[in-house]
Amino acid sequence: MRNTHLIAVAAAALALQTGNALADQCIPSSKSNGLAPALGDKDSWAIERTQAANTWDDWIWRGPEFFRCPKVGVNNCTDSYGKSHQQGYEWSVGVSLSVDKIPIFGGLLGVVGPSGSYTRVNYWTETWTRSIQLQPGYASRPIQVVTRRWVGGNFRGMQVNTGQRCNFGKASNEQGAIYRWDANRTFGRWSANKEVGRWFGYQTYKY
């Protein structure tokens, strides 16, 4: 019983790893841009190929100037902003995709990884309750910053036309072709500025 269970788990794992590799598919002309030689697929996934050498700071919120330390008459000033702020932001910005006019079978090019979507929107609440000390003549603002890195790459995994014709659907005589999954074929391009760090702080300057 236990062995049977293990085999079932192993088979499920294999099916997950290979996706639709085991099953050739009849894809109709209308969904393959006229039986194109190869198609992207909803199971294609994104590969990181290049990255920027440096990161950049995305100031997602710059709060009000809450305090000014007088220019004269004091040694320094102590204060605290003492407020919270909730800011919506995207985990990645400037997302750009191009699949070089290659049709995508299944309607969506969906590539899901454990970190979620590249366009995931979060809300980040921060509270500035700390005591700060300003030198005379300086002012301060609270800020929320996401540190980002530009990354780019392409997609891997395509449905490849085997040249074998088929009829699509029981009620339809639409001509199709047998496509076979090739996990090593790559296509397209994408780039994005992804989050690599997140922090809050203060901007301080002379006024």
């Binding site: 950049w56 710059r62 090019l109 901007q203």
Partner: protein, 182 residues
């Protein structure tokens, strides 16, 4: 947050509708899409370099010794020092800030805070403080408090009380790991 590190390497998820090109997403606030001037292979080590000055026994120094690559006086991204730094090291801090590099004051004594105020005009209550010039055409400096893991955990718990618990809402605390992306 230093300008050349990425230890974490999140996997990717993208969904676009149909074929062709699609462009979306334009982040939060300033969100200027930075076009990289230098790119490298995705697998390359792009961690920044750190130069430890002063005592070098603070929590940031300990973490960055292993989290970043070792730098030299002529080539570093992050300078870590404390109130014991000598005159030469303080001069190095001034020139580093002017060059757009990051300087960490690795301690929370009054002498450490005084040094932060000397460099940036402002200090903040924290176990360590990161200082750098403001980016994106902003004036002045950025002062970033950095907490120990223990203090950050206590702060996160305190902030979570009465806080919205929406799944997509997050309370962030500044630790060496979150600030430097380790």
């Amino acid at each position: 947050m230093f300008r050349s590190s990425d230890v974490r390497r999140p996997l990717i998820a993208i969904a676009i509708v149909a074929a062709g090109a699609a462009v979306y997403g334009c982040g939060g606030g300033d969100a200027a899409d930075a076009t990289p001037t230098q790119t490298t292979d995705a697998g390359a080590d792009v961690r920044g370099t750190v130069l430890i000055a002063g005592r070098g026994d603070g929590m940031v120094a300990h973490a960055l010794k292993t989290g970043l690559k070792a730098g030299s006086r002529s080539d570093f991204d992050v300078l870590v020092l404390d109130a014991n730094a000598n005159g030469e090291e303080l001069a190095l801090a001034d020139s580093a800030l002017e060059a757009g590099k990051q300087v960490v004051i690795d301690g929370s004594s009054e002498a450490d805070s005084a040094l932060v105020r000397k460099l940036a005009g402002m200090s903040v209550d924290a176990d360590a403080v990161l200082v750098m010039k403001a980016s994106d055409g902003q004036e002045g400096y950025v002062v970033v408090p950095i907490d120990s893991e223990a203090r950050a955990a206590a702060r996160k718990t305190a902030l979570a009380v009465g806080h919205s618990t929406a799944a997509s809402d997050d309370v962030t605390v500044n630790t060496v790991a979150s600030v430097f992306g380790l």
